[in-house]
Symmetry: C2
């Protein structure tokens, strides 16, 4: 068994955005099923025991109450932007057993998180393309194109594989060639923050995601890290048949 649950599918600020009354934010206020919390996920494998469960990123503000100590094995961080780690600030002061944290090389960390790590055990940083075995799950970090050192992760268990690639603007050449040499991915979860032709940097828009789809031809492609502008655009436009819109709580 290899299963990934999208815990949050929103860009920084989420949907609804604080104080915003655009159609997408209004809809999310009225119908919580359209809310988007900070982009994060849970991966489970094998028998799905606590040892076989990792949280990818930690931006959920209620992380400490949603995931009590000992109900998961540790964290895989994509990078240290605050919307991906803010749930750790409170939780770290706990007296729980040390919680392993895998992360990309970034000495800055976020605020005082590395200096006062509390019950978090930041492990030696991983290297692009070099897999680690975490309690039976094969995890390969892949370089992303972002303003801070950032890893996407290829997750493999048995014959199934899922790539989780966020935050990124396109894919760097080394990551593209690594993934191109694999058989088609069972599922690709990928950053798509903006409508087509949006000039925002550091994140994909619909056009860059289309190019990634053409390059890699995964069996399923699901977008995450959506901003409210993209949600508003999607309310007006259709999407191509190959593109699935991620939702908080969706399981892959």
């Amino acid at each position: 068994m290899l299963r990934l649950t999208l815990l949050g599918t929103g860009a920084a600020g989420g949907v609804p955005l604080y104080g915003c009354e655009c159609p997408a934010c209004k809809r999310a206020t009225e119908h919580p099923t359209f809310e988007r919390k900070p982009c994060s996920a849970m991966v489970e494998w094998g028998n799905g025991s606590a040892k076989e469960r990792l949280l990818i990123d930690a931006g959920l503000m209620d992380l400490h109450s949603r995931f009590p100590a000992e109900t998961y094995h540790g964290f895989l961080l994509t990078h240290f932007h605050v919307d991906h780690v803010q749930g750790l600030f409170h939780l770290r002061w706990g007296t729980a057993s040390p919680i392993p944290v895998w992360c990309p090389p970034d000495d800055q960390g976020c605020a005082d998180l590395l200096k006062h790590s509390g019950c978090l055990n930041f492990l030696p940083t991983m290297t692009h393309g070099e897999p680690e075995n975490i309690n039976g799950l094969r995890v390969t970090p892949l370089q992303m194109a972002h303003s801070r050192p950032t890893f996407g992760y290829l997750l493999e268990y048995g014959v199934k594989n899922i790539a989780y690639l966020t935050d990124t603007d396109g894919l760097p050449e080394n990551t593209l060639s690594f993934l191109s040499e694999l058989p088609p991915l069972d599922a690709l979860i990928v950053d798509c923050s903006f409508p087509p032709d949006h000039s925002g940097r550091n994140h994909n828009n619909i056009n860059t995601v289309t190019q990634i789809y053409l390059d890699l031809a995964p069996k399923r492609l699901i977008i995450t890290h959506l901003g409210h502008d993209l949600d508003a655009w999607l309310m007006e436009h259709g999407v191509p048949e190959w593109l699935e819109i991620g939702r908080d709580g969706m399981t892959v």
Copy 2:
């Protein structure tokens, strides 16, 4: 009317502390009335309109949902430690009208909060002992003894006054002499993180608070910013009659 509501009365990590099973944390898990969220407060004056409401510190993780845009005037920050500002990371990306933020002089801020301030309007920093008039409320910043530049605040409206002094280890001489020259305070809300004789720095323990009570003789003294160790100690020991234990939701 001058009213202060304690929104959170906990030290960093709160009570219950993540993964902890001490008597105080067990009690708070079983009876949410004993929970302590990150130390913060709301002050209301005059008619209590949205313009007459300030939030003191912003450590609540659900700040954005508890306080929608336009339901308060702005923030008074005591300092930039992450447990006092973490609720702003998510909220700042909103499209709300600029929200005024008063704070002590500290160019570092916290993570990228000052660099990417979004809808927050960080005002020119205040000066110890120099009052500002905020929509009729007289607010005087007072220097605290802490590891980062930190202000307590004297709040005055009509004939009533309340001092909110956290985070601090004792009181610096200039603050003590400023407050000593006033008539006795109606209420003093003060940092008390640790049991007596606890050697933790940067915060008061029961002994330092006793000294502050003897120095200032306020009409009421209420402790806030309690750690789980102090809560466990309080479950075993009585408190002197002059000392009130703050609770989340308590109104002064």
